[in-house]
């Protein structure tokens, strides 16, 4: 691992100041749980010149806001968030998704903000001997013709087919969460689904976070509270593996028709994929498996399968259909 300058921030103001204090702000990183950044540094993929440790910044609380929203501090650790009573009661989808990711040890270290900032698990991104436009812009993409079993099928570009590895973020996309960000030019608020980017011609940029900015919290809207929801993760082994396909879904049926439906997919795109095509087709329709299947097929229609990930197209369609059918049947209830 390369050497670096290390400093500890005590509040958000000092964190921003310390990050911009070094000679090159672009070579400075905030350090929280470290579960992804330290690993990437050991592999030489990330080589920051300075680290600003933010683990002592007081952003580790889950707060009830006056408007009924729930605010999750960026430094709330994954295990604490999954076990939080308000989250389990009102947003069980989020608790479920977190518990299906990583291991107990990692969830004890990893933070909410850090989970949003984790980078792809693409083998070629991690292999400094491979071509990767995300790691070295313009160098090519060895995943296109390589072993691309874990790679994206939706929203890809000829430059990058990396997939986003988070489970938590898939639930947050379905819950219409918002992200609060502070930075050199003040505070701003971003819709969760606008935060992560598609690769396009700049796959080196995972998110819309600008240099020097810090995620301070995530807001879960009261309107997403108490949804009839579930998180289904399909993976190569029953525990401690990244998703091949995952589905976060919520369904509200009244008078025999779908009033509200949320579907977000993991493992299929460069970002947590909100399935808005399927949702638009489902609103106002009766909650029947054949109608779910038609909507799922429409969502997956633009998919570009590759040699080793073509199975994901059918897997995603079937998982969406299954999860929504279970929700409609009153199974897969919030748990």
């Amino acid at each position: 691992m390369n050497n670096f300058t290390y400093s500890q921030a005590t509040d958000t103001a000092s964190a921003l100041k310390l990050l911009s204090a070094g000679p090159d702000r672009n070579a400075a990183r905030f350090l929280a749980g470290g579960t992804n950044l330290i690993d990437l540094m050991r592999e030489g993929i990330e080589q920051p010149q300075s680290l600003v440790d933010i683990t002592r910044v007081p952003l580790a609380e889950v707060l009830e806001l006056p408007n009924g929203d729930l605010r999750i501090g960026a430094l709330v650790r994954n295990s604490h968030l999954a076990a939080n009573a308000a989250v389990r009661e009102r947003y069980p989808l989020l608790s479920q998704a977190i518990l299906m990711g990583a291991s107990a040890q990692l969830r004890n270290m990893a933070t909410t903000g850090g989970n949003l900032m984790q980078r792809t698990r693409c083998y070629y991104f991690y292999d400094s001997a491979a071509a990767c436009n995300k790691r070295v812009p313009g160098s090519g993409c060895d995943a296109l013709e390589g072993f691309n079993r874990i790679h994206a099928i939706l929203g890809t570009s000829p430059q990058c087919i990396a997939s986003h590895p988070s489970d938590m973020c898939v639930a947050l996309a379905a819950l219409d969460a918002h992200i609060n960000i502070t930075g050199p030019s003040g505070e701003r608020r971003v819709a969760f689904t606008d935060f992560h980017r598609l690769p396009g011609d700049t796959p080196e940029r995972d998110t819309d976070l600008e240099p020097g900015e810090l995620i301070t919290s995530i807001d879960l809207p009261a309107s997403s509270s108490g949804l009839h929801s579930t998180y289904r993760k399909v993976r190569d082994r029953a525990s401690y593996a990244f998703a091949l396909v995952s589905v976060a879904a919520a369904l509200k049926v009244a008078d025999g028709v779908i009033r509200d439906v949320r579907v977000a997919l993991g493992g299929v795109a460069h970002k947590p994929w909100r399935a808005s095509v399927a949702e638009d087709l489902l609103r106002g329709k009766p909650p029947r498996p054949d109608i779910f299947a038609t909507a799922a097929a429409a969502e997956l229609a633009p998919a570009i399968p590759r040699e080793f990930n073509a199975f994901k197209v059918e897997l995603a369609k079937r998982t969406i259909t299954l999860v929504l059918s279970e929700l409609a049947a009153g199974e897969g209830a919030a748990r």
Binding site: T5, Y6, T35, R42, A83, A104, Q105, L106, M109
Partner: protein
């Protein structure tokens, strides 16, 4: 604190009830600090990338992967390693149970398994949910009221790999300790 590039920093770590002083670069992991600077080689380095759990230690009673932790971040925290579990020469009940149930073959994953199992049982008793905990097993106070089923035990211990495949003995050892501490 501000440590410049390549500079050694004097820090104090509280390990197994004792304050230990060491001078390290900021890039030294908690795992390497324990093994190479504090002469506590019981904690093992397996994958060094957070995938195997061999480096599991307890920090303020919670299990973490010490390979993904920078030592400098853990000042002021209560760190317990496998060397700190026995009291006055008497093995911790989890250590005894691993011996009684053949919870290991080569032994390399064992310190991590034992530390992880101790914290896991605390989590379970405190009502922390797992991916296989469903609503029917949680009472109105949000406390897990079920038995520690094999499904629960396997899910909760999935962060510790054993390539010898001593999982059955590991499970039996953990189950014995869990049974012994129930009210």
């Amino acid at each position: 604190m501000n440590v410049s590039h390549g500079e050694l920093q004097s820090i104090s770590l509280h390990v197994n009830g004792v304050a230990r002083l060491l001078a390290i670069e900021p890039r030294v992991s908690l795992l390497d600090a324990l093994r190479d600077h504090l002469n506590l080689p019981g904690t093992k380095k397996g994958c060094d990338q957070g995938a195997c759990g061999a480096c599991t230690v307890l920090v303020d009673g919670e299990r973490i992967n010490s390979c993904l932790a920078l030592a400098i971040q853990y000042q002021g925290r209560e760190i317990v390693t496998i060397e700190g579990l026995a009291q006055s020469g008497v093995l911790h009940p989890m250590q005894r149970a691993f011996i009684e149930h053949d919870g290991f073959q080569c032994g390399y994953c064992t310190p991590g398994q034992i530390c992880s199992a101790i914290a896991m049982l605390d989590e379970f008793r405190n009502g922390a949910p797992s991916a296989v905990t469903n609503k029917s097993t949680v009472n109105s106070n949000n406390v897990v009221s079920t038995e520690l089923t094999d499904a629960e035990l396997r899910e909760r211990m999935s962060g510790n790999l054993c390539r010898c495949g001593a999982y059955v003995g590991i499970r039996d050892a953990i189950r014995q300790v869990y049974g012994a501490m129930k009210p």
